[in-house]
Symmetry: none
Subunit: 202 residues, 2 copies
DNA sequence: AGTTGCTTAGTACGAGTGTTCTAAGGTACA
DNA sequence: TGTACCTTAGAACACTCGTACTAAGCAACT
């Protein structure tokens, strides 16, 4: 990526710090004062150049909508792709970052730890943490979704849900477990799978 | 913490979603339209109540400075265990929390995205993010560890490593890929698997 | 029916804000 | 010295935005 000039870097660093502490962007006039300038024009010029270089972006005409595109703060660097097959895939130089804290930062989310092996063919295994998003009505689930559902007599389990005109089918992704077929009013869908996390012990 | 009324919760969830995707706060009039209201007053009323309850805050008089407060500390609530087999496991009331941001907050870590299916039997599949810890010497790897290793002629791949007196064996966990057997000086181990993360698209 | 309390509609105002324009200042280079 | 180019100053404009205010709607209760 193209480098920043000294004045651009000074502004960029100040912006990162400001947004980090205030959790929102400053206005152009605030930047102006922080850079000890007496006119908004230089700030605007620097911002446009930094946008062209891919460091920042904002929504035109709207106040305080500036955002940092490549924050070098939170997160773990994503170095590239690795092949499991055997082909060569070079490590990238660009330092994209992943912040797993906000990776699953969705409203109404909770985590469950998996016991058992009924979702093994979807690569969800014993001990995995599954990130679920709350569901209040069964209508919010779509055909094939992996859901946490409660059925009388079966308890709460993690299954794939399929809809047919008369009934709802809950299928494990492991052939040794038979599907559960019930009418929609016998089932209570509590959440829908958003992600999976696994910690390998050493 | 004091609970939110339904309309407050609807607005709160929308705000979290908006800020998550746009990286800045909406204006009151944007909230107004999103809530299908025709006046800014109800939004203002709801915001003030949510601020009093400690959910949000903003800087008075300044545009788009609203921010979500996280009084429960970072993280997603861990509600309990869920069985994949069919047994009943009740949801826990205790609100243990998991912060995936610090979940993988280990020194010398980086992330790779997986291509291919050679680790499929260890439930690491295409598109998964693998969290690796840097390794400088092959001695830091233990028998059976999943490592990112570079072998001349094979590129950098994700495999299980096994040591024998004379050679090092890299095995995929997929029978259609043959193991690679080389002498220790032909292999360069770059990292060891610490965790796996997967995002399910909706 | 009347009262009370809360929510919503609608409007208005002033300050904040992004943007644009012209002019002045400064620097590099011929 | 002169020219070209970029940066800065300063002002002005139009629009956005937070805020305040009044009136109307609405439900619960007396």
């Amino acid at each position: 990526m193209e480098n920043l000039t000294p004045v651009q870097k000074e502004l960029y660093d100040w912006l990162v710090q400001y947004i980090n502490t205030n959790k929102h962007s400053p206005s152009i006039r605030e930047m102006m004062k922080a850079m000890k300038l007496r006119s908004p024009a230089p700030i605007q010029s620097r911002l446009e150049k930094m946008r062209n270089k891919g460091y920042i972006d904002w929504t035109e005409g709207q106040a305080r909508t500036l955002r940092i595109l490549q924050p070098h703060g939170e997160g773990i660097p994503l170095l590239g792709k690795i092949t499991a097959g055997g082909l060569v895939e070079p490590f990238r130089d660009e330092q994209e970052k992943i912040d797993f804290g906000s990776f699953f930062n969705l409203p109404n989310c909770y985590v469950l730890q998996v016991v058992g092996d009924s979702m093994i063919e979807d690569h969800i295994t014993e001990g995995d943490y599954v990130i679920m998003q709350s569901i209040t009505s069964i209508q919010q689930a779509k055909d094939g979704d992996i859901v946490a559902a409660r059925v009388e007599g079966y308890g709460t389990t993690l299954k794939k849900i399929y809809f047919s005109p008369s009934k709802v089918s809950l299928k494990a992704s492991n052939p040794k477990y038979a599907p559960i077929n019930v009418s929609p009013d016998q089932i209570q869908v509590q959440g829908s799978l958003m992600g999976v996390c696994r910690l390998h012990q050493k």
